[in-house]
């Protein structure tokens, strides 16, 4: 499960806006987000939280109790929006996710997310076998990294 689509808001000649990065219609199909930052010990710290979409497309995450006050304005986070549907006989289907990186600012009990990059996959748009085919270069790179050096 890796990226179907990857977009970055800066770096190009014409930076993308938040609404161009994150499709609010697709985002509204998710029920909650998982916010992740790096904690003081250097570990990832993730917590699930509800979110709202404002009329002008702003992503407002309900501030979790664990969010550290020392993070301050403009802290970098990653937010995963993920969906699966359980199958009664076991397992799951209907996989889709959207991973948004950006900065957050506090706003009346919410963390307002300012998206900078997004990576997403929806198996109904890109079936898993096609996702695998698209990922062959990464597989090749990993296999090559395992080869012993042939330098004399």
């Amino acid at each position: 499960m890796e990226e179907r689509r990857y977009l970055q808001g800066s770096g190009g000649s014409q930076p993308l806006t938040a609404l161009e990065l994150v499709d609010p219609d697709r985002l509204s199909l998710f029920r909650y987000g998982v916010v992740t930052w790096i904690d003081k010990d250097g570990f990832p710290f993730s917590v699930a939280t509800d979110f709202l979409l404002s009329e002008n497309g702003e992503i407002l995450l309900r501030k979790p109790s664990a969010y550290p006050t020392m993070m301050g304005a403009g802290a970098s986070v990653g937010v995963l929006f993920n969906h699966i549907t359980g199958i009664p006989t076991g397992g799951y289907t209907d996989r889709r996710y959207m991973l948004v990186w950006g900065r957050v600012s506090e706003d009346k009990g919410f963390l307002k997310l300012h998206p900078e990059e997004v990576s997403e996959w929806d198996e109904k748009i890109l079936p898993f076998d096609k996702l695998c085919a698209a990922a062959v270069p990464q597989g090749k790179k990993y296999l090559e990294s395992l080869q012993p050096s042939i330098d004399a």
Binding site: M1, E2, Y32, V34, T36, W37, I38, D39, D41, G42, F43, P44, F45, S46, V47, A48, T49, R62, P64, S65, A66, S76, V77, G78, L80, N82, I84, T85, G86, I87, T89, G90, G91, Y92, R95, Y97, L99, W101, D129, C132, A135, V136, Q138, G139, K141, Y142, L143, S145, L146
Partner: protein, 155 residues
């Protein structure tokens, strides 16, 4: 590990976790199938070489986290549990090392044998790296209420 029964249920029955590795200081989170070994109290995920960027991240920085927030398909109530730990990568036998987790995989995804039957067609999908995570800290939010302070679970 001295986990309350509701935390143990999450580890034993949730289908997926939200797994985070660190790429040059940036958290990278993907939903992953996981396995929990009750005897060793360690967590395992496996990754195809096709989707191995997270493995490259962990080789540079083994600090990872697993969040359990989605009870969909598990038959248990919603709780939220965070595990922070150190990842150990096993990639010396891509074709077989992961097979010891097949019984647990089959319980979570009974249809996996259909994919296994097409092993040749998806050859590189079945070249898999094993990641074992030793927990260093566990925090848990009963009933998934993350507006409240979490409980720390003794390791």
């Amino acid at each position: 590990m001295k986990a309350p029964s509701w935390v143990q249920e999450v580890f034993e029955h949730y289908l997926i976790c939200e797994f985070t590795s660190i790429d040059n200081g940036k958290p990278v989170t993907f939903p992953l199938l996981f396995f929990y070994d009750n005897n060793s109290a360690k967590f395992v995920v496996t990754s195809s070489i096709l989707f191995s960027r997270k493995i490259e991240h962990m080789k540079r920085n083994p600090k990872v986290s697993l969040l359990f927030s989605n009870p969909e398909g598990s038959g248990v109530e919603k709780h939220v549990v965070l595990v922070q730990g150190i990842a150990k990568i096993e990639d010396s036998d891509l074709d077989h090392a992961w097979e010891r987790y097949l019984p647990m995989w089959r319980k979570k995804e009974p249809y996996i044998d259909g994919f296994l039957a097409a092993r040749e067609q998806f050859a590189w999908f079945w070249k898999r790296i094993v990641v074992e995570v030793e927990p260093r800290k566990i925090l848990a939010w009963k009933n998934g209420d993350t507006s409240k302070a979490p409980e720390a679970v003794s390791l």
